[in-house]
């Protein structure tokens, strides 16, 4: 239906434009020319994203079903490439350096895993055309797909990108919940995942441990790991009802707030535009995600339905975790705010997801 296409496009563009303004405001005072141009790059990425949105909205999503294994394989390959380059360069890397930009595969890996899981759980029994997932045992319902998720997850966490890795896990559990897989299996999975957490603690990198500890009490280390959260809370809290005004945010523009144009862009925005606009922004996200759920709900095709759910959940989780992280309600895990944060990979991947969403709705109408 054209309706959802227009709605999603308008909401996404509105959020993205707010993002460009915020990125400009948080970087325009920095001396280096590199920083000065950052908002222009974001506009460029936004344009590329919109083009991708149009392309994907016209690209029949059913073809993704066929390509899902290929897409999954490609994602793994990219991750391995990042992983091996990281080894060669003796340092962690999240990006692949392409001609003039950095490509961050983990953003696309999230989408690839969703496509893969949507296909995996929407296979139908050949005899009675019912979903196979309801009949899955613990191995095929939980263990096998978990392995398929765990491999890219491990590679992403190893980058190190804890946020994206956890996102994969959360999306997996959520999708699992939405399929017909038995609830008790999911409970078993959760227990199995949560039980070894104390042991996994030792495998975390020191800075990741710091961040988690600091989440519990940011004042442990106010000038170290807790600094960002404290400054971001100050930024949001000091905004007041109407904000300090565009380009007048002292927290973000005087660089008290690190990562003010990427992970902590919400704080930048909130400081300058205030409570009212922040509520508005959150509402915009809510409307966007609601569109996704509406599409998922009215889609009959189980692959399309799961895919739509997966995309919406991914968006919702990223928005929720990022904003909570800005407010100090969640640990700082390094996750961009979709459409608002600076980052070409993120914005293009998000627009591609939205394009797929629109196409699912459009294709449904064809049936």
């Amino acid at each position: 239906m054209r309706n959802s296409f227009i709605r999603i496009l308008i909401i996404a563009l509105a959020i993205a434009l707010i993002g460009v303004l915020s990125i400009y405001s948080s970087t325009y005072q920095k001396e280096l020319a590199l920083w000065q141009d950052i908002y222009k790059r974001q506009i460029l990425w936004l344009a590329i994203g919109v083009v991708c949105f149009f392309l994907m909205s016209g690209f029949n999503y059913r073809k993704l079903w066929d390509a899902s294994y290929f897409i999954y394989g490609l994602a793994l390959l990219l991750l391995l490439l990042v992983f091996s380059l990281g080894i060669i360069r003796l340092g962690a890397q999240r990006w692949l350096k392409l001609a003039w930009f950095n490509f961050q595969p983990s953003e696309f890996v999230k989408l690839a895993v969703i496509i893969f899981l949507a296909r995996y759980f929407s296979r139908k029994s050949e005899s009675d055309i019912s979903l196979l997932s309801g009949k899955f045992g613990i191995f095929r319902g939980i263990a096998l797909p978990f392995v398929f998720v765990a491999v890219p997850m491990f590679l992403v966490i190893e980058q190190p990108d804890l946020g994206s890795g956890l996102m994969l896990l959360l999306v997996f559990v959520s999708l699992l919940y939405l399929t017909d897989v038995r609830l008790k299996y999911i409970v078993v999975l959760l227990v199995l995942l949560l039980a070894p957490l104390p042991f996994l603690w030792n495998f975390l990198r020191p800075y990741q441990k710091d961040r988690l500890l600091v989440f519990l009490n940011p004042n442990i280390d106010p000038l170290g790991a807790g600094y960002t959260v404290i400054q971001s809370r100050i930024a949001i809290g000091s905004g007041g009802f109407f904000g300090k005004g565009w380009l007048s945010g002292t927290q973000s523009q005087l660089y008290f707030l690190p990562e003010s144009h990427t992970d902590f862009i919400f704080a930048t925005f909130s400081e300058q535009w205030g409570f009212l606009a922040s509520v508005l922004l959150i509402s915009l996200y809510y409307l966007l995600i609601r569109q996704g759920f509406i599409i998922a709900k009215r889609t009959q095709d189980s692959f399309g339905k799961l895919l739509a759910y997966g995309i919406s959940i991914l968006l919702a989780l990223q928005v929720f975790i990022n904003i909570s992280m800005n407010m100090g309600l969640a640990p700082v895990v390094g996750l961009p705010l979709p459409l608002l944060s600076y980052g070409g990979s993120s914005i293009v991947a998000t627009f591609i997801s939205l394009g797929i969403l629109v196409n699912i709705d459009r294709t449904r109408a064809v049936f």
């Binding site: 939405l178 100050i234 996200y285």
Partner: protein, 571 residues
């Protein structure tokens, strides 16, 4: 399907959580965060004005200011503090432990630079300033500091500066004084602190997360203190100090026509710069010194005036017509007062008033005193400015004390005996005066009958105070009385047997009175109070030596002073 509905609700809940979180930060805790945000980015850089100078009558600086350099640290993070302290300790050669202790002691707020070292050498200040490129948290703050170009000269007049003490703070809080303020102690520095003191100014600047300056938010220009000009002539002052040097006592030189103090010297003295340079050992030595070098003997302590007091007796006797110019008393070396024998210091034979002053004959004044009675002596002493503070410009002036029968009756319930009158007649007993009072008294005979109110402040902040000063008050003595006393005072010097004969060889005609005050312990106090030149007096001089021996010792010092002043053409 239920699962899906539940899930949608769950996601909706997530957004509610976000909105609640936002409201909590923005609305409930908004004020707190707005304050934090302000503190984050605003730094205050103080700029101090300079304390007013203290000048002598010719505009020469007695207490001025020089630039000193303080090292301050404004760390953005703890590791920066350690690095900065390490660098400062390396360059200054100071223990980093001490610097850290100083940092802890002086720390006020993270938005204010904290002083770790005071008054460093200019050369090291330059080195540290260069080092700032590497360590931007180090700040070299130039600060004006009290400077005394003449060392300890006139130290008792100017006083010293130090950090405000609790007592002064409670007194001065309402006038805008704060803890750690530098205020004056003693002398002009204390009395005129309100005018001398500078007003702190400063910049409030916005900084970024590295503490780097971004823009100026506000500027309050510092205000310099007002200069205070004294009537002191630093040349005369130095002559007086040199002559006095090594002898406990005080010297005052005053213009008898106006009451302007031209020199006010005390010994032992101190160098006020020890308080500026904060030398604890030297400072505590000053306070513990039994000779109390911090005391301004000229005004803050009183002594028996001894024979100098005979001037009061002479004028009272002549005024009240108890004696006249032809009155003669024979001095056999002693006199009987009641049943007690009061001795004279010598045997003088027949004495009239002029000779009695010249020879300082005790017997003549015992008899005059007995004719006058204690109350009359007291009244004339008060008339001549004794026994009450003169209202001098410097703080902590004492009033001295003149006993009287009435006072004795009221306060001690005791009778006044003739022996008391005899004692008072020669300025002994309970009678106490300050050198300044005797100086003012002597001026009456120098300027033909006017008691001056001595003063030492000529101008404050360029505003001349001379017109606002009290006029000389006439004592209303008869011309003959003054003339007789004057002649007597001249004879003290010119008569071959006069007690002040040591001054006769001077090219300037000096008149005056010596005094030898017996004290219960130690050598007697020595006085010489006089004026010169005799015909047209320009100066009243008072030399007082605490436990300095006979009055002759004081007149020798007076001679040295007058001689030097004459040589330098100051008379």
């Amino acid at each position: 399907m239920d699962r899906k509905k539940l899930f949608v609700y769950f996601l909706g809940l997530m957004f509610v959580v976000l909105l609640i979180g936002l409201a909590d930060l923005n609305v409930l805790q908004g004020a707190k965060f707005r304050r934090l945000s302000k503190n984050n980015c605003i730094r205050l850089i103080s700029q101090s004005g300079t304390r007013g100078n203290i000048l002598d009558r010719n505009g020469k600086i007695i207490a001025g200011n020089r630039i000193s350099y303080d090292v301050m640290i404004l760390p953005q993070e703890p590791s920066q503090l350690d690095r900065a302290i390490a660098a400062v300790s390396r360059i200054l050669g100071a223990e980093s432990k001490e610097l850290k202790a100083a940092f802890k002691k002086n720390f006020v707020s993270s938005s204010l630079p904290t002083t770790v070292a005071n008054n460093i050498e200019p050369r090291k200040a330059i080195i540290l300033e260069e080092y700032k490129v590497e360590e931007p948290s180090i700040i070299i703050q130039p600060k004006p500091l009290r400077y005394y170009p003449h060392g300890s000269s006139a130290c008792h007049v100017i006083g010293y500066v130090n950090e405000i003490d609790r007592w002064r703070l409670t007194k001065l809080e309402d006038y805008g004084y704060k803890t750690k303020d530098i205020v004056g102690f003693g002398g002009v520095e204390e009395k005129y602190d309100y005018y001398l003191r500078q007003e702190e100014g400063g910049l409030s600047v916005e900084v970024n997360h590295r503490g780097k300056f971004t823009r100026v938010l506000g500027f309050q220009p510092p205000v310099n203190g007002r200069d205070v000009q004294l009537t002191l002539d630093i040349r005369v002052q130095k002559i007086a100090e040199e002559a006095l040097s090594g002898r406990k006592g005080a010297v005052i030189l005053m213009d008898p026509q106006s009451g302007e103090i031209l020199a006010l010297a005390n010994y032992p003295d101190y160098n006020p710069s020890v308080f500026v340079n904060k030398r604890p050992a030297l400072i505590s030595a000053l306070f513990n010194n039994p000779d109390s070098p911090l005391v301004n003997r000229a005004i803050q302590s009183s002594y028996p005036p001894a024979s100098v007091f005979k001037v009061v007796l002479a004028s009272a006797g002549l005024e009240l017509k108890k004696i006249n110019l032809s009155t003669n008393f024979v001095c056999p070396g002693w006199a009987m007062v009641g049943a007690r024998k009061f001795s004279c210091w010598d045997t003088h034979g027949a004495q009239d008033i002029i000779r009695a002053i010249a020879h300082s004959c005790d017997v003549f004044f015992y008899k005059t005193g007995l004719l006058l009675g204690g109350q009359n002596i007291h009244d004339y002493a008060i008339k001549l400015g004794l026994g009450r503070p003169s209202g001098f410009d410097l703080p902590y002036e004492t009033g001295g004390f003149i006993p009287s029968p009435l006072w004795r009756k009221i306060n001690k319930f005791q009778k006044w005996y003739d022996g008391d009158t005899a004692n008072l007649s020669i300025g002994q007993g309970e009678c106490l005066t300050t050198p300044l009072q005797l100086t003012a008294m002597m001026a009456v005979f120098a300027n033909q009958g006017y008691l001056p109110a001595p003063y030492i402040i000529k101008a404050v902040g360029g505003l001349d105070l001379e017109k606002k000063k009290k006029r000389l008050s006439p004592v209303a003595f008869k011309k003959g009385t003054i003339e007789a006393v004057r002649r007597g005072l001249r004879e003290v010097v010119s008569d071959a047997r006069g007690t002040g004969n040591a001054l006769s060889a001077l090219p300037v005609a000096v008149a005056g009175k010596t005094g030898t005050a017996q004290v219960s312990r130690g050598l007697s106090h020595a006085w010489f109070v006089g004026f010169f030149p005799y015909d047209k007096p320009k100066y009243v001089i008072c030399v007082f030596l605490e436990n300095g021996g006979p009055g002759h010792a004081a007149s020798v010092i007076a001679r040295q002073i007058i001689e030097k002043m004459n040589n330098q053409g100051l008379i």
